[in-house]
Amino acid sequence: MERKRVFITGLGVVSSIGNDTAILVESLRNLKHGFKAFPPYHPYKDDPAALVKWISAPSDFEVDSTDFEDWKYPSRYKIRREVLRGFAPHGLYTYCAMKQALEDAALEEEDISNYETGIYTSSGGSPRLLCNNMERMREIGATRCSPTGIVSAIAGTLSFNLVANFKILGNSCGFSSACASSGHALGYAYDDVSLGRQSRMFVAAGEDVNFESVIPFTGMRALSLEVDPTRASCPFDEKRNGFVCAGGGAALVLENEDEVERRGSTPYAELVGWGQSSDGHNVAISHPEGSGLIRALSNAFRSAGIEAGEVDYINAHATSTLIGDASEGKALDKIFTSQGYRPKVSSTKAITGHGLSLASALEATIVSLAMKEGFTPGSAHIQNLDPQFEKLNIIRETETTAPKLAISNSSGFGGANVTLVFRGV
């Protein structure tokens, strides 16, 4: 069966380092992080050492209230009450990112709502809204809880809302594989377009970033408690000790070659294949030798029909945790260094923080922009490179040349690994 080529033709983003692609690119060129101070919280108020100090939250959005009618967001988005009430905080972020992506791809209403156009989403749901609903339900009864309490809060909320609001008629599904979620969403969206099941797919991902979504990660000692923001997220540094939690939204438009030609669009990049695998090792810790990621990389190369030696940039998953970064470093050594290849490597999470279900879609957005805008993002905040990464070509500053063939890695809880392959056009 003949496969279709798949192009990325529209992007939208709401993130701490930019609420549109232009600002995102500026932040990436200057490696400017978007971390904001997180206020002291009960019961550690008087114990600064135990507190998370930083989160990575989009500016110009005030979505902390559990009452959506309190929310504030940029005035360029006009959102009706009936639309807003179904959203979690990340629903709003991602809706805005979708609006940008559709406008960016110059899609007409009939391009968006037809049988050949679908959407895959990923998010972890909204622990805040879920907690609030449960609390209210217990105190004053289920029939006095918001009728949109479920659709705004459970995993899948992004799909319910975006499918309804954008009148999507094609394939739709929500992906939930933790930090690999939007990698899976992109991978399966690629398959659908490539196999001719759909001619266009949207991929939209988002995460809340608030007390209920962030602080539970301290229970597994995954978050950095550093006071200096540049130390709180420093992938590959020898002093790395956890990540900064990020929220926001990202949306991508994937179209087949026929649609690109018909509409005369100029794509950002071509998505040429993907691969996945599972560690089968631990519920929350990646395999120490990176065995799963090694297989995801090999599968991705096979899918894309490329050799490791052709890759010139790797957007690493590296979140700034001790074990995670080390595991990925071993996988990259095995696939590239040991074969004599030295593609550029960076982790943009140094400045974006770790967006969990959003991460892979945000990083796919970054790689697409790098290819079109002509830069390769550097790996910020490294003071002393951990010696175990010495063999990798980790670039510390953003370079002014575009990658030609890039990969982006993502790994999630349970040892789910996804590698996406992009080619410049």
Partner: protein
């Protein structure tokens, strides 16, 4: 934007059911008059405050452009069709009404609350403890069509609500009705005769779905005929886009004749009044009865021509 809720959470706590704090929080986006009325109602239980509270709650969910409709005071305004509320918004509004007035509304009751009038009346009855036996029952278009002998393109009833010996119904004039092409040339006006037909159809629906107690045997749905209409006045020209709000009331029944009064309004404005609409029907009975019945509906059908229709 750092998360401020982490600071309040430890002292906030969950709302206490029935507390003034919860009431204030529930009604925080309603007009000040609404909140004042609700607080006063908590103390006095004064029923005359109910419309202010109920309408204030509904209004809070409306776009400014439709909110003015609500202020017209027309009780036939429907939440979904006229105000653009969907069923989830209805639930949100009902939750607030429940909290404000200390009543509880069941799902099946909710289904029958279609209009401002329904809601006001329902809440009033709840508060006064009138467990009205004559509960309202709403029928959407598919249920109406499944019962009626008239069918598209001659069905002029899109929904109906039955309550005791009266019924309200609705027909939106779509402009697609074929006869509008010729009535009149270049000026589509919904014929007065069809408006009377629509009232008659609502009466037929009541006869079939909830026959008045005087009728003991079941009615044959294929044997109901329009036989007469008296005291008709038309007050308003109705055109495509207008929604006919119809109301009929049983006046007298004696088999095989049932007489109704009827009115049609559009946006609360009087369009048609008919003092007497007469239908002839036949009981669904054994063949032996077929000859024994004195009336001949067919002879009375001609009476329609003699009715006093004024346009």
């Amino acid at each position: 934007m750092p998360d401020q809720t982490t600071i309040t959470r430890e002292v906030g706590g969950a709302p206490v059911p029935g507390s003034e704090e919860l009431l204030r929080d529930t009604l925080k986006r309603c007009s000040p008059e609404t909140l004042t009325a609700a607080l006063e109602y908590r103390v006095s239980g004064e029923v005359s405050l109910v419309p202010t509270i109920v309408l204030g709650i509904v209004e809070r969910f409306l776009d400014p452009d439709v909110a003015s409709k609500l202020q017209s005071g027309d009780d036939s305004i429907q939440f979904m069709e006229d105000l653009g509320m969907d069923s989830l918004t209805m639930i949100e509004a009902i939750m607030m009404v429940e909290e404000a007035l200390g009543v509880s509304i069941k799902n099946d009751e909710l289904m029958n609350l279609r209009s401002v009038g329904d809601l006001k009346e329902f809440i009033n009855d709840k508060i006064l403890g009138l467990s009205s036996e004559e509960t309202k029952e709403f029928f959407p278009v598919d249920q109406v069509a499944s019962i009626m002998p008239q069918q598209v393109p001659f069905l002029f009833l899109e929904q109906a609500t039955l309550e005791g010996r009266s019924a309200i119904g609705r027909y939106p004039i779509s402009g697609q009705e074929a006869f509008l092409e010729g009535h009149f040339k270049g000026n589509p006006v919904f014929p007065a005769s069809i408006m009377l037909e629509a009232l008659g159809q609502l009466a037929v629906f009541l006869l079939l779905k909830k026959p008045p107690q005087e009728i003991e045997s079941a009615i044959d749905s294929s044997e109901i005929y329009f036989t007469g209409v008296d005291g008709v006045r038309c007050h308003r020209i109705c055109k495509p886009g207008d929604v006919l709000d119809m109301k009929i009331q049983v006046k007298r029944v004696r088999e095989p004749i049932a007489i109704f009064s009827g009115t049609i309004t559009v946006n609360g404005e009087k369009a048609v009044v008919a003092e007497e609409i007469t239908l002839a029907f036949k009981a669904e009975t054994s063949p032996a009865d077929l000859n024994g019945n004195g009336s001949d509906p067919a002879s009375q059908v001609n009476g329609e021509n003699g009715s006093s229709v004024h346009l």
